[in-house]
């Protein structure tokens, strides 16, 4: 969690353009008075509140593409109109003020066609335009790779989808907040996937050509 807090502060202050945060435990299933799903404390919300306390930001747009609903994050930000929280999960919901949005990807993926493209289209329809209207100070992509084919939240996605999400997050942040983007690692259990997905995502953040292992064997 300390890394997310420091990364948020440095990105908000303009000391870093963007950041990728590894984690030791998850955060998005940790609410005000509960935790679970291998999450302990809510790193993104704590980092946001600390950065606000330091006067570095007010408004944060969170895109959560972990397989499961971010119940802890939603619990903590439900009444906070300066947080846009778009969660790609297994329900459909939009709050009255439009700042809290759930998109059911689970029932829509696997209906035929390219799952990667379906998923990216769902995210593209849910997040960039809302972020543009919301005008955040920082964008956060909560990146779980548990939705990859073969992992425990399998939606049939391949590496192509995750690199697409990296580009979408990066490009959205460039459009709405001068590129200030935090990528925070969430769920996903397979070591081979981690080593194939994470380096090219970081390369995308740094605007460098991807290198390393082939994406999908």
């Amino acid at each position: 969690m300390g890394g997310v807090v420091e990364a948020m502060g440095r990105v908000a202050a303009g000391e870093l353009r963007n950041a990728f945060c590894f984690i030791g435990a998850g955060g998005h299933h940790a609410g005000r008075n509960f935790f679970g799903g291998y999450c302990c404390f809510n790193d993104v919300v704590i980092a946001t509140r600390q950065a606000r306390r330091d006067g570095r930001l007010r408004r944060v747009a969170i895109l959560d593409t972990d397989a499961h609903h971010a119940d802890g994050t939603r619990d903590l930000v439900a009444e906070d109109s300066e947080i846009l929280h778009v969660c790609i999960c297994n329900t459909d919901y939009t709050s009255g003020d439009g700042t809290k949005v759930d998109v059911d990807a689970r029932s829509r993926c696997g209906l035929g066609g390219s799952t990667d493209q379906l998923y990216l289209d769902l995210v593209r329809g849910a997040f960039p335009a809302r972020a543009m209207l919301f005008r955040p100070d920082v964008v956060v992509w909560y990146f779980g790779f548990d939705t990859h084919r073969g992992d425990y939240g399998d939606l049939g996605l391949t590496s192509k989808a995750f690199l697409g999400l990296a580009s979408l997050s990066h490009d959205t942040a460039r459009e709405v907040c001068n590129g200030r983007l935090l990528v925070v690692l969430g769920g996903g259990s397979l070591a081979d996937l981690a080593s194939r997905l994470i380096p090219p995502i970081i390369a995308r953040l740094a605007e460098q050509p991807p290198s390393g292992k082939p994406l999908d064997p």
Partner: protein, 76 residues
């Protein structure tokens, strides 16, 4: 690991303990790191930072105080 860097840089925040034991993995999902980042870390616009621990005061920005001992007692 670097401390102060100029803007325009991508920061990577990591701790060696994440590769020994981390989320959902019996400790192995990040086993290839930080070695898997070696080529990226040759770049002048990428910097590696070691994550620092946080205080209880910071945790209380979001959570009730009883959560701290409950998390500490959790077997995972």
């Amino acid at each position: 690991m670097r401390d102060r860097v100029p803007g325009g840089v991508t920061g990577i925040f990591y701790h060696p303990s994440f590769s020994r034991r981390s989320y959902l993995t019996s400790g192995r999902r990040l086993a290839a790191f930080p070695g898997a980042l070696n080529s990226l870390l040759q770049s002048s616009n990428i910097a590696l930072f070691q994550c620092a621990p946080v205080s209880d005061e910071l945790i209380l920005l979001a959570h009730d105080s009883h959560l701290i001992p409950e998390v500490e007692a959790d077997p995972f």
